[in-house]
Symmetry: C2
């Protein structure tokens, strides 16, 4: 395991301080990549699944997920809203109450998503087992 030198010895290479990195963005026009960049983050997929159960308030979602930080909940919900997958409704009560629900577009994502969820549920044992075999072969 790479314990991270930390030191960078006294003598050290003649290495230059590395020029800024230039991104290759050629893939930006690939639909699946753009969608995965969105759904592949830590919380989006999960929040959509929670919202599939029906509209929910901010605090409800927070409790439903329970290990999401409030900052990420806010941020993820907003980006889902931006993409038109989630709608946000403010009720001007005191204290304020905000409800989130899936839009039609968001709903339309449920079907393909549930296909993946079903696959995950079915195949997880096989994956875990494959993993064990692989690790055994390595270390045994």
């Amino acid at each position: 395991m790479p314990v991270k030198k930390a030191v960078q010895g006294s003598m050290v290479t003649s290495r230059e301080p590395r020029p800024p990195r230039v991104l290759n963005e050629a893939h930006e026009d690939c639909a699946i990549r753009r969608v995965l960049d969105r759904l592949g983050d830590k919380w989006s997929y999960l929040l959509i699944l929670k919202l599939a159960k029906g509209p929910q308030r901010f605090g409800e979602l927070r409790r439903a997920v329970d290990d999401i930080s409030q900052r990420m909940l806010t941020e993820t919900l907003r980006s889902l809203q931006r993409d038109g997958l989630v709608a946000r409704t403010v009720y001007p009560t005191t204290p304020p109450s905000v409800e989130y629900r899936l839009t039609a577009l968001g709903q339309s994502l449920l079907e393909p998503m549930q296909g993946l969820v079903a696959w995950a549920d079915r195949q997880l044992p096989a994956i875990v087992s494959a993993r064990a075999t692989f690790d055994q072969a390595k270390c045994g």
Copy 2:
């Protein structure tokens, strides 16, 4: 393993060096999260889609994706292999030749994945449009 302290500036804040973070791992038993942690990375999904076309050699995959670094190609392929989604075959020629192909388990993932790809292709315009509207409302 996080040895890393390294600098931590000379003068700097009166703030304490923040106690170590303890992970909430309560979600570890959720199949979809475990599967997404795997497929949600930058390359797995894409490599599986490439391998769906048939077995391919290391270099072929490298060129097929073309903006993946060789390090990440190696690493991603190995973790897919570990999970039993991809099989690796070495042909002891000179120079060596290594072929990767989807296992049956990997194949079984294609169907749910393609559902998602299809959705992405269909709905990307709607998402882009929603995004524009949202941004307009913000800045306009």
